[in-house]
Symmetry: C2
Subunit: 206 residues, 2 copies
DNA sequence: GTCTATAAGCGGATAGAC
DNA sequence: GTCTATCCGCTTATAGAC
């Protein structure tokens, strides 16, 4: 049996990836030491490097494993839905990701902030077409008068910015408000406010 | 004369801070090497360390020099203005900062993303009171029926998120659209869209 | 698969001449 | 103020026993 394909090997790989995500998202690639990760998993450093030959390999594996979280909610926008329902569902889903997987969000944010060199192929080849499909739908709604006449790409950016902000800037939000998305009522207020402003902003007045 | 207070010393300090900002914002604190910075300034590494005794000192100096950019536009919201004018001016000013000083924005974003340990005192003591004053003004407008009844703190976050996004996620935006705020017409479209959605979202319908 | 011990080299900081 | 040369700690990665 090949390396890492045993049951115990697979379990260890997962544990390593979990710990690595947590540390990489907090300290960045260079700021994280491999023995920190090893210690977090309760494993010796050489043993860790038995599973992932280099720190780079481990980092790439962490990124890859979290990629679908970046792409998933986009693909879930129901094609037949009306604008209000579709936008409500998408914004709610994105905010929910910010609550459930803030470390994933921060890992991607750090990567993009630093130039997205590792992510560029994925963003271009995988995210690009998905975004285009959604933007096309926005554009059709605009043509049909079901959304106000704004640039659909910027609507996409605004949704990403407002929802991911609560994961990426959680430290600042905690300092200023003492709250986080983990507080149920803070989450509800956030969702209601973001939804209200954006829907109010893009749906035509009756 | 004390060190660094001569004309040439002051000029060198500025050149170092400029290069350091550029590199720290791109690679983070740990990802940046001091000899990289020295080379960018055309100076030997020991000479660089003559001006800033440690890498930490240099980093702190860079952060401090850029702090007013974080706080400045907030303080400029004219107290007497009506909501529409005040929000328009503030959003436009923030977007202009994202265009003119994207590296500053990314430096702060990286700091906050990684837990804001260095920035926490500043955010709490300097940003906090400024934000509170602005949020109070939002709240009064809401009470007077000049803004719709949303949580004013979240309005603040939404403005920060949407405007800073164009600096912090510039790499992703470039990959998806091929554009940046440096393109005059892209900047105009961005400003118009953000303004339209947010103003439309928070101003009461006539 | 897991460990102890160690190699290898990077990178921040210093010594000391000019 | 600026340089060359160098130190030394820290961190990744490997060797090799179990």
């Amino acid at each position: 049996m090949k390396r890492n394909q045993t049951r115990i090997g697979e379990a260890n790989r997962e544990k390593i990836l979990d710990a690595a995500l947590s540390l990489f998202s907090r300290y960045g690639f260079r700021g994280t030491r491999t023995d920190q990760i090893a210690e977090a998993v309760g494993m010796s450093k050489p043993n860790l490097l038995y599973y992932f030959r280099t720190k780079q390999d481990l980092y790439a594996a962490v990124l890859e494993r979290t990629l679908f979280m970046w792409l998933d909610p986009l693909a879930e926008i129901a094609p037949g839905a009306d604008p209000k329902t579709a936008l409500t569902d998408y914004i709610t889903a994105k905010l929910d990701y910010s609550r459930r997987y803030p470390e994933h969000s921060r890992l991607f944010a750090t990567e993009i902030l630093q130039g997205a060199t590792l992510l560029e192929p994925t963003l271009r080849n995988d995210l690009g077409p998905l975004v285009e499909a959604v933007v096309d739908r926005f554009r059709r709604w605009i043509d049909e008068g079901r959304l106000v006449a704004i640039d659909p790409m910027h609507l996409m950016f605004m949704i990403w910015a407002t929802t991911q902000h609560y994961a990426d800037f959680a430290a600042q939000i905690a300092i200023l408000t003492g709250r986080s998305l983990d507080d149920e009522d803070f989450f509800a207020t956030t969702r209601d406010t973001v939804l209200r402003v954006i829907l109010n902003g893009v749906l035509p007045k009756e």
